[in-house]
Every structure is written in structure tokens, then in C-alpha cells.
């Protein structure tokens, strides 16, 4: 599939501050891209450039096949954008607001009202469709923002922290909604909530100091950067210690961390470790209470990579 978003050597400076420092990224059509990074890493600046709200100092980008520098005016029909804190006209109702956006896209009256109804139902605001937006909570505004971003059924959806203002059930609904878009449109979703990325994104990009540190498919990233770990709870403690000391000669073993009757083992070869770990422990006479292969977390990888970049 072709790339829906291509960002090449993007630089953006504000006075002496370099918000983006040669950022590169590609998002394949139909994918959900998790754009992660600490605060001030350049996520929102990238979004603002991709929507045409800001201009790059150097470098370029293509969104939905449109070169922003050349045909930026055509872009608005192909994208949907949810800002970090979506703002609305407080005197309007959600029905009126979605109708207004529909008119801007030139949609027929019948289509406008039908799409408005569907979207409000989708974001669970159908009961509040005729209430003034001025009285909405932040979560309700966020949900309306998502509906607003989808009025034109965009090819590319740019979501800046889409679930940050939502309660757990609201977050689940929004993430389910984003997940349902997989294959239908390309989603670039910036967030600092790693659990959300782990749940819905199939490709992950980690940005720090305006640069892309790593971009990869989520599973490939986990496989590549996460240290495979095993945890064993067994006794007696002195045998556990002797056994863990004995592992140092093994080719698949990296390190061990002992806490009471619990040993956390880092390994370099998961397959070999799985074959030899348990039989070896039993040979030592350990009574095993629990044995677990720990799932690598994106959070660990994120923190490690960002910390590595801080050191540089």
C-alpha cells in the first residue's frame, strides 16, 4: 500500500528554539500510527504543519498524496483534524456545528443531517445534540471534536491526544472507534498514553527533541527493543541464589535480579532459555511456585529510547 503521510527532513524553528530538527516519518495507507514522545518533543508542531496551520522552516511533507508546499489548499478536503483541546462556538449545538462543517464541505442537506446523526450516535452525544456546546464538559467536547474530524469521511485523520481528556469508559469507546477505522482511513494519533498506543496502533514512531528516534511496526519494535525477561518464584532462597549464579556460563543468559524468593532473569535467546530454564531449576532441587515469561512493555522501550536520546 502507498504511503498516506510522508514527512521529509522537517525543520521548524521559533526564534532560537528548534521545535523540529529534521523529522522524518512515513505512514502507510490504512494504518493507525502512534506518534509518541515526551512533552515538547514536536508532536503538535508536526500536526500543525501537516494540517497547514503552520509552515515548516525547511523540509516538506505529503498528506494523502498532496504536496503541502505545492497544493496545500486542496489538503483540507482530504484530512480530518482533532486539535489537542478542540474549541467550538459555545452558542452552537452539536447538530448545528456538524451541519456547519458539512456545509463547508459542500454536502447536501440530506447527507449532512444523516451524517450528523450517525456521528453523534457514534461518539455517544446523540442525547445532547440540541444542547448548547458552551455547557459541555471537556470529555464531551473531545468526543464532539472526534465527530467533527470525521464529517468529511477523511482519507487521513490527524488526532492530537484524542483520549487524554476522557474517563476510562470514554477512552475505551474512543479507542474502539479509532480501531474500527483501521483499513478505512489512515490515522496519525499523537499521545503520551502508552497503553493507548499498545492497544490500537499498528505502527509506532517515537519522537524526541524534534527528531524521530525510531519508527517501526509495534510488534517489531517490541521484539527488537524489549529485553526478554522471565520471572521465577521458587524456594529455598539459598538454592535459588546458587542456581542463578550457575546461569552465568550459559550462552542465552544476560543477567539476574534476586528479591527474596523471586528471580527476574534477562535473557538474550528466548527459545534456548525456554528449553533450559525450567529443567535446570528442577535439577537444582528448586520448588517452583510460579514461572512467567514477562511481556515486554512499550513503556519500557519508550523510556529507554527517550532516556538514551537525553544522554546523547
Amino acid at each position: 500500500m502507498m504511503n498516506s503521510i510522508i514527512v521529509k527532513d522537517l525543520v521548524k524553528t521559533y526564534g532560537s528554539v528548534r521545535a523540529l530538527d529534521g523529522l522524518n516519518l512515513q505512514v502507510e495507507g490504512g494504518h493507525i500510527f502512534g506518534f509518541m514522545g515526551p512533552n515538547g518533543a514536536g508532536k503538535t508542531t508536526t500536526m500543525r504543519i501537516l494540517t497547514g496551520l503552520a509552515k515548516p522552516t525547511r523540509g516538506g511533507a505529503q498528506v494523502a498524496g498532496i504536496d503541502l508546499a505545492r497544493d496545500g489548499r486542496d489538503l483540507t478536503r482530504h484530512i480530518g483534524y482533532l486539535p489537542e483541546e478542540p474549541a467550538f462556538y459555545p452558542w452552537m449545538t452539536p447538530v448545528e456545528f456538524l451541519d456547519y462543517l458539512g456545509r463547508l464541505y459542500g454536502l447536501q442537506s440530506k447527507i449532512r443531517s444523516q451524517r450528523g446523526r450517525e456521528l453523534l450516535e457514534l461518539v455517544k452525544l446523540d442525547d445532547s445534540g440540541r444542547r448548547r456546546i458552551g455547557g459541555f464538559s471537556r470529555g464531551m467536547r473531545q468526543r464532539l471534536g472526534i465527530a467533527a474530524a470525521m464529517v468529511n469521511q477523511p482519507e487521513v485523520l490527524l488526532l492530537d491526544e484524542p483520549a487524554s481528556a476522557l474517563d476510562p469508559s470514554g477512552r475505551k469507546e474512543v479507542l474502539d472507534l479509532i480501531e474500527s477505522l483501521r483499513g478505512r482511513c489512515t490515522v496519525l494519533m499523537s499521545t503520551h498514553i502508552l497503553a493507548d498506543v499498545e492497544r490500537v496502533c499498528d505502527v509506532v514512531g517515537i519522537v524526541a527533541h524534534g527528531k524521530m528516534i525510531v519508527q517501526s511496526e509495534r510488534q517489531a519494535l517490541l521484539d527488537k527493543y524489549a529485553l526478554p525477561m522471565f520471572e521465577i518464584e521458587a524456594g529455598p532462597e539459598e538454592i535459588l541464589k546458587r542456581w542463578s549464579d550457575s546461569l552465568h556460563g550459559q550462552s542465552w543468559f544476560t543477567s539476574a535480579e534476586l528479591t527474596g524468593n523471586k528471580a527476574r532473569l534477562a535473557v538474550s535467546d528466548v527459545r534456548l532459555a525456554k528449553q533450559e530454564l525450567l529443567p535446570g531449576a528442577l535439577r537444582f532441587g528448586l520448588e517452583i511456585e510460579r514461572y512467567e515469561e514477562l511481556k515486554p512493555s512499550l513503556e519500557d522501550i519508550f523510556l529507554r529510547l527517550v532516556a538514551g536520546e537525553e544522554v546523547k
Binding site: P83, P86, F88, R103, L104, Y105
Partner: protein, 253 residues
């Protein structure tokens, strides 16, 4: 592109936020009361107890010119003030609140966004001024004599043009800064500057304020004109709105 959609939203916003009501109410009030004040002020002065002897004799009998004079004096002050107050938040508030970013990522050129705002404000002032003129004409007819309709309408057209100069200037100020208060301050500075320039006799005949006196003379059948000031008014409107569009197109939101 999409001008009518944004224009319609601007009108709806002015209606829902009661901006139309405020402009109509203020201008209509002064339209109605100006001939009344002109007609009854001398009588009210004369009715003051213990007025020095002879003073009531020198208070002139009110005429239709007093009614028109009062009308122009009141509306020029309050109309310009309203032009500043109603326009200062038009762009700055949308930038400050974030609605500009949400709307301008849709198929709305920035020029269209500004032109629709200007047109919405222009229509509000035109309707309000028309109602004020109707009120003024009616009371002037009741208390003095009928004003020539065509000339009186032309006078109000000239007044509208002056108001639009200030609307356009404030729109530019609102585009330049990010806060409503800042836009208001900047526009007030522009107002002071224009007033200061108006105090220079040779320059005054080229400035917007000259259209007020041309309007009065039109309604009273005099021959005074101020064509240079009219062209300068039109030029200023085009200049301010054009500058606002150019600035806005280069601005990052």
C-alpha cells in the same frame, strides 16, 4: 468559496450573542431620541426653577437643523464606539479560543473567513442605521417637518461608510494580535490617531469625519460636498481589509 456559509454563521453568531440587538438598540435609541432632545431641550432649560432673567429669551427656537445635528453627534460617537467594540474580538477571539484553527483546516480560505466577518458586521451596522434613520425621520416629521427621504438616506449611507472604516480598522487590529483586549487597545489607538489628524484643518477635509458634515448638508439642502474624503474612506476600507487578509494568510495558528 464558502463565503455564504461563513457569512450565514457570522449573522447567526451576532444574533445568538445579542450583538445585533445591542447595535440596533443603541443606534435606534439615539435615532429616536435625537429629534426629541433637539425639540425639548430648550423647553427643559426654560423650565428650570430660578433661571436667571433673560436667559430663557436667548435660548434659540429649535429647528430641523438641530434635530439632524443632534442625530449626527450622537450616532457618530456611539456608532464608532460600537464599531470598535463589535469588531475587536472578531478574529482575535477565534484565534485565542482555537475555533479559527478548527475551521481553517476545512475548505475555508482565510480571505473568505475575514471577508465574511466584515460583511456580517457591515450588514448589522447597515440594518441598525436604517432603523435609527427611520426613528429619526419619524420624530423629526412629527416635531419639525418631513426630511427629504433620498437625501436623508444618502446621509446615513455616508455615516455607514465612516463606521465601516472603523470596522475595517478594528478587524485589521484583531487580525494582528491574539487577544481581544489587545485588538481593542490597538483600534482605540487608531481612533485617537484619526481624531488627532482630524484636528489639523488642511488634513481634516480628507478624513472620514468630513462625511458627517457632508451628510448634514445633504439633508438640509446645502451644497457642501466632500468627495476626496469619500474616496479616502473607500480606500481605507479596502486597505484595512486587504492588509488584514494579507497578514492573516501569513499567520500561523
Amino acid at each position: 468559496m464558502n463565503f455564504t456559509v461563513v457569512f450565514r454563521k457570522e449573522l447567526l453568531e451576532q444574533w445568538r450573542t445579542h450583538k445585533v440587538l445591542i447595535v440596533v438598540a443603541v443606534l435606534f435609541f439615539f435615532g429616536l431620541t435625537s429629534p426629541l432632545l433637539a425639540r425639548y431641550t430648550p423647553e427643559m432649560l426654560a423650565a428650570i426653577p430660578n433661571i436667571p432673567a433673560g436667559l430663557s429669551g436667548i435660548i434659540p427656537t429649535p429647528t430641523v437643523a438641530d434635530a439632524i445635528g443632534q442625530y449626527v453627534k450622537n450616532l457618530s460617537q456611539f456608532g464608532i464606539l460600537l464599531a470598535l467594540l463589535m469588531s475587536m474580538g472578531s478574529v482575535a477571539q477565534e484565534k485565542e479560543r482555537g475555533t479559527a484553527a478548527l475551521i481553517l483546516t476545512r475548505p475555508v480560505p482565510r480571505g473568505t473567513f475575514l471577508l465574511a466577518k466584515f460583511a456580517g458586521l457591515a450588514l448589522t451596522f447597515a440594518v441598525s442605521l436604517l432603523l435609527a434613520a427611520l426613528g429619526c425621520w419619524f420624530y423629526t416629521y412629527l416635531l419639525f417637518e418631513a426630511l427629504p427621504w433620498g437625501a436623508f438616506l444618502a446621509q446615513n449611507g455616508l455615516m455607514l461608510l465612516v463606521f465601516l472604516v472603523y470596522v475595517a480598522m478594528t478587524l485589521l487590529c484583531s487580525t494582528l494580535v491574539r487577544s481581544q483586549a489587545g485588538a481593542g487597545g490597538l483600534a482605540f489607538g487608531g481612533l485617537i490617531l484619526l481624531a488627532g489628524l482630524g484636528a489639523i484643518p488642511r488634513l481634516a477635509e480628507y478624513l472620514p469625519g468630513q462625511l458627517f458634515s457632508w451628510g448634514v448638508s445633504l439633508s438640509l439642502g446645502a451644497v457642501k460636498t466632500a468627495w476626496p474624503a469619500l474616496w479616502i474612506c473607500l480606500g481605507l476600507i479596502v486597505l484595512f481589509v486587504g492588509a488584514a487578509i494579507l497578514v492573516f494568510q501569513r499567520q500561523e495558528l
